[in-house]
């Protein structure tokens, strides 16, 4: 009887160990989930424009949604969580980049929140960031973290459409810390940029 218990216990322990190794191996299921699940998740994050009353604004915002969605602004600007990007924190920022030329920068909150988001900024301020990589106070934005040099090739009308859409997404309160010193070399020797997957913002 004792021997059977011992054997059963041994099998259970081995099975548990195998299960744990399998868990480590297969989780997160990034390449076992169907691609369509990621595709649908990406589309579901970007709010539709149906709620916009003015039909002209709605038509422009629809274009802005298309440009913003297909440019994958979400890759850096959706707040990261332990299980990946948090859909409820769509474009609320918080991902940390340590860049060679511009130190430690955190992706901004692009939602129209009054205190921590773009409601504080004029259209011109936002367009200047997207096209010239310059904050309203004149500080330069790292082109290595934020591809503003590429976005500068948007037509004026597409640039406008992106800003209109950003004005109509859900405001999320999420305070982003200002840039700080830092060099990627100090984290990983020889690196030119280091990107973290945790949230540096304050809810």
């Amino acid at each position: 009887m004792k021997r059977i218990v011992k054997w059963v216990a041994l099998v259970v322990v081995i099975l548990a160990a195998c299960g744990f190794v399998a868990f480590l191996y297969f989780i997160p299921p990034l390449t076992s989930m169907a691609p369509e699940e990621f595709v649908n998740g990406e589309g579901a994050m970007a709010p539709p424009v149906d709620g916009i009353a003015d039909p002209a604004v709605r038509a422009i915002a629809e274009r802005g949604r298309y440009v913003l969605l297909t440019t994958e602004c979400t890759g850096c600007h959706v707040t990261p969580g332990p299980q990946g990007p948090i859909p409820e924190m769509y474009l609320a920022g918080g991902r940390t980049f340590v860049t060679a030329a511009h130190g430690t920068v955190v992706t901004r909150n692009l939602t129209p929140d009054k205190e921590t988001g773009l409601a504080r900024r004029t259209d011109e301020d936002v367009k200047r960031v997207l096209r010239s990589g310059v904050f309203p106070d004149g500080r330069p934005i790292s082109h290595m973290a934020m591809p503003w040099a590429q976005f500068s090739n948007w037509s004026d009308e597409d640039l406008h459409a992106v800003v209109v859409y950003l004005r109509h997404i859900k405001p999320v309160r999420h305070e982003i810390p200002p840039p700080a010193p830092g060099t990627p070399d100090a984290i990983v020797p020889g690196a030119v940029e280091v990107v973290y997957g945790s949230d540096a913002g304050k809810k």
């Binding site: 190794v21 868990f23 480590l24 191996y25 990034l30 390449t31 691609p35 990621f38 595709v39 998740g41 990406e42 589309g43 039909p55 002209a56 038509a59 422009i60 274009r63 298309y66 969605l69 297909t70 440019t71 994958e72 979400t74 890759g75 332990p82 860049t99 060679a100 030329a101 200047r128 096209r131 010239s132 990589g133 310059v134 004149g138 330069p140 082109h143 290595m144 591809p147 503003w148 040099a149 590429q150 976005f151 500068s152 090739n153 948007w154 004026d156 009308e157 406008h160 459409a161 990627p184 984290i187 990983v188 020889g190 690196a191 030119v192 940029e193 280091v194 990107v195 973290y196 997957g197």
Partner: protein, 438 residues
């Protein structure tokens, strides 16, 4: 002094020190911005990102920009009030800094920098070229403006045709398929669409347009018509160009906007390579698929040739693929559907899967079929660069499991680490003299 007790002397000294420090702090606070005496610092932080600390127009952020940032060392400037071969006036340069160049990355610094700072930058920019020490600006004679009228616009249209403006700008100014225009540095430039005046670099008023016609846009295919056209005709052409303006979307009604986007989609369908170029540029494909140096500057000759190394613990070292049309190392090896499946489903040509990051295929899947085709059409035209990309280097199984344990159980945030240089077979080309001149 000898009779003053030591303690009192120290107190007096301390008082003087405090006064001095206080005054310094007061001065620093009264001018919230740095004084123009530190113009090099101002230039290096505000301008050098694009124009380079040496003024040659190849700063770290310059590569994706179209038009390219100005090379200050030649002393050639596009937007002037002076004759075709002349250096600009100080006021010309000041105007560009103050209001910027619409439609480009060159912003207007008014409201961010003080007038004194902008004036200091004018002087600083001039010292990059010896021309400003030896030459004097030669302003063009601006004749009295001819007010616009149906008659003037009619004359302007006739002059626009006889002067051959349509060869580049198209009939009615809406752009022509003039092929790749080049400036004197060999950079691609395009003739602006004259129906979209909000993007006119030098301003949209008739007086601004008259000046462009009179002075030309130096070092580009846009000539000066000062000697080849009657002066009054230049005013008529300016009035005609002003009359070509269409409504921008932000002034249109909903129906007009929908019609506008539909006609834009039709134009894009007729010219997929141009649409694809625009998408590949603005979707920032080159942000990862072009290797960079330590300052974040694109390595010369390797645009879209892949080779940037990303270290992603736990998934290993992944090098970005070569997107040029090369038949052995680039996309030339793959069919259209392979390419589309890769950037919209994250499935590689051999059927293996990509992670959902950093390559944003889940987002690119939302491109319309027409835009997906346009991207492929453009990538087929990217000149081939031989740059063999090494396969991903995975962690060994024990290291993989240990790192996964740290990540899943320990909650450790392994960052994505990006390395400078090209990990592909083409190596790290040094900036060639030609590339440096840009």
């Amino acid at each position: 002094m000898a009779s003053v007790p030591t303690g009192a002397r120290w107190i007096a000294l301390a008082a003087v020190c405090l006064l001095l420090v206080g005054t310094a702090v007061g001065i620093a606070q009264s001018g919230a911005k740095p004084e123009p005496t530190d113009v090099k610092h101002l230039y290096d932080t505000s301008c050098a990102n694009c124009h380079g600390t040496d003024g040659r127009g190849h700063g770290p952020a310059a590569d994706p920009l179209n038009p390219r940032p100005r090379d200050f060392t030649r002393g050639w400037y596009k937007f002037r009030s002076t004759a075709a071969d002349s250096i600009p006036t100080d006021d010309d340069l000041y105007r560009t800094i103050e209001v910027g160049l619409p439609g480009t990355s060159m912003l207007g610094w008014k409201g961010i920098l003080s007038e004194a700072q902008m004036r200091a930058l004018v002087a600083y920019v001039k010292q990059f070229s010896p021309r400003f020490a030896s030459e004097r600006p030669a302003p063009v004679a601006v004749t009295r403006q001819i007010a616009t009228s149906p008659e003037s616009i009619q004359k302007g249209r006739a002059a626009y045709e006889s002067l051959g403006c349509g060869a580049c700008h198209g009939e009615g100014g809406a752009g022509a398929d003039a092929g790749a225009l080049k400036d004197d540095w060999g950079n691609d430039v395009y003739a602006p669409n004259l129906t979209e005046p909000w993007a006119f670099r030098g301003g949209r008023s008739a007086a601004d347009i008259y000046l462009r016609l009179k002075t030309g846009i130096t070092a580009t295919p846009m000539p000066s018509f000062a000697d080849t056209a009657k002066d009054e005709d230049l005013w008529h052409v300016a009035n005609y160009v002003v009359s070509l303006a269409r409504k921008p979307v932000w002034e249109m009604t909903a129906d007009e906007i929908k019609a506008h986007y539909a006609s834009q989609a039709q134009k894009d369908a007729a010219n997929p390579v141009q649409r694809g170029r625009s998408l590949v540029s603005t979707m920032a494909c080159g942000h990862c698929h072009t290797p960079i140096d330590r300052e974040g500057r694109a390595l010369p000759g390797l645009t879209l040739a892949g080779g940037a190394k990303f270290r992603m613990v736990v998934w290993g070292d992944i090098v970005t693929p070569n997107l040029t049309s090369d038949n052995e190392t680039g996309l030339g090896r793959y069919g259209d559907d392979d390419i589309k499946r890769a950037f919209t489903r994250g499935i590689k040509h051999d059927g293996s899967r990509m992670l959902p990051f950093p390559m944003g295929w889940a987002a690119y899947a939302h491109l319309t079929p027409q835009d997906q085709d346009a991207i492929v059409a453009y990538l087929r035209t990217v000149p081939p660069v031989k740059n063999q990309i090494p396969p991903p280097a995975r962690l060994g199984l024990p290291a993989f499991l240990i790192a996964k344990f740290q990540m899943l159980i320990g909650g450790k945030d392994f960052p994505i680490v990006i390395f400078p240089g090209n990990a592909g077979s083409a190596g790290n080309p040094a900036a060639s003299p030609a590339a440096e001149q840009r």
